[in-house]
Amino acid sequence: MSNNNQDHYYNADDLKKFGNIGEFGQDLADKFFSYYGAVFAEGALTAREKSLIALAVSHTVQCPYCIDAYSTDATEKGCSEQQMMEAVHVAAAIKGGASLVHGVQMMNKVKSISM
């Protein structure tokens, strides 16, 4: 069956269809969206702090849908460009650090097989 959407993996318009994910399993979708809504509500962290965390995590998991959604959301919640970029750097630092810290494992291994 021909489907234009199969020509590429990501389509910006698909973000709007996220709410339709229940088509193949309504019960779990309902549970997910209910949980999702509760997670992002004001709590011990403000909705804006949560939005910045979501923006950082979006970059770590490299989800273009999430980056679109939370760049808009954080801007709407009054975050400045500097705050958003600092959040992205936190994500980059953790992701970079996570790679680099494995260098210790490399060093351990090299030392263990070296004279």
Binding site: K16, T46, A47, R48, T72, T75, E76, K77, G78, S80, E81
Partner: protein, 345 residues
């Protein structure tokens, strides 16, 4: 940054007919009146008119990128003394609680101070939508804070962000700096400090996005303006940008038009729809014609009914009319709602 109005650039979008053609394109977006119908609000009727909003003219010292009036220094349309007298007569003969003055920069109308003094003598509460920079634009405007104070005018002023870059991208180079100077001058005569001298700021998103929580943004603005500039104000009003005039031009040029409209439509809130400002406001154009709101005014959509000019104003008839709604009205019903007084829910 744009430097001239759509009108002086002879842009196709300077025509309200062209704007409406685009906004009303069949099938592009769900019909706003159908949404109102499903919310039990169509035809939309006034609750009780309490606010007379008067647009004193399109002349302005700024050329903001999002301006729904297409105002600027190159616009010469301003209200005459005769029309102002007709507005005062309507104020005398009818029960309005609030006179809301807007523009352009309303202070650039040569009869502005006379009009405010006459209206103040009638005992009506007066709001002036002051763009702040007019206060420092010319020596002759430097005493506006004292003038406002003397007439107990409520000052409502746009400041899209508490940082210069985002503000200047929307309102023009150097606007933030001048706005801060003007805010200090207003604080200097008691505005935002003395409870009787209300200074309220307006937050318009500087781009293709909706305003966030008014409560949260107000806290941010208060904290940052106090911390960085020692400025006080009373309330922050979050206003959604309407997809008309120069903001429509921005949406089209930046490729954001469809997405923005989709966002407004999907954020339609029946509770906000029930509280739209056109239900308690009448808008007067610089030439005295009557409109349901300042946005309908800029789209040349006059009020329904036989009376369409302030000289013939009849409160009973106005309170019974059907309010004119079009696709741009989604801007007032999205999310927590939007009005000249901020969120409506």
């Amino acid at each position: 940054m744009i430097k001239k109005s759509l009108a002086s650039r002879h842009s196709g979008l300077s025509s309200s007919e062209n704007q409406l053609k685009l906004l009303e394109a069949e099938g592009a977006f769900p019909n706003f009146s159908d949404k109102l119908l499903s919310a039990g609000l169509f035809p939309l009727k006034p609750t009780a008119i309490n606010i007379l909003q008067v647009n004193l003219g399109k002349m302005c010292n700024q050329v903001c990128a999002h301006c729904h009036v297409d105002a600027g220094p190159d616009r010469k349309e301003i209200m005459t003394l005769e029309t102002m007298n007709e507005c005062l007569a309507a104020l005398r003969e009818n029960k309005f609680g609030i006179l809301d003055l807007t523009g352009g920069a309303p202070e650039m109308n040569p009869q502005f101070r006379w009009f405010v003094a006459e209206a103040a003598a009638l005992g009506v509460h007066i709001i002036v939508r002051c763009n702040l920079t007019i206060i420092v634009a010319n020596k002759k405007y430097n005493d506006l804070p004292q003038f406002y104070r003397d007439h107990k005018v409520e000052v409502v002023s746009s400041l899209p962000f508490y940082q210069a870059d985002r503000t200047d991208r929307q309102r023009g180079e150097g606007v933030f700096k001048d706005s801060i100077t003007a805010l200090k001058m207003l604080n200097g005569v008691g505005y935002g400090i003395d409870g009787l001298l209300q200074l309220n700021l307006v937050y318009n998103p500087a781009g293709a996005f909706l305003p966030g929580s008014q409560e949260q943004l107000e806290k941010d603005f208060k904290r940052e303006l106090k911390l960085q500039y020692d400025i006080d104000f009373n309330n922050l009003y979050c206003i959604t940008n309407m997809p008309i005039s120069r903001y429509l031009e921005y949406l089209l040029n930046s490729g954001n038009y469809e997405k923005y409209m989709d966002r407004l439509v999907s954020a339609f809130n029946p509770v906000a729809a029930a509280s739209v400002m056109c239900r308690n406001t009448i808008s007067i154009g610089w030439d005295g014609y009557l409109y349901d709101c300042d946005f309908n005014q800029m789209l040349d959509l006059k009020v329904n009914g036989s009376v369409d000019h302030i000289r013939d104003f009849k409160m009973v008839e106005m309170n019974e009319r059907d309010i004119v709604v079009k696709q741009h009205c989604y801007g007032c019903t999205a999310g927590t709602g939007s009005s000249c007084g901020g969120s409506t829910t």
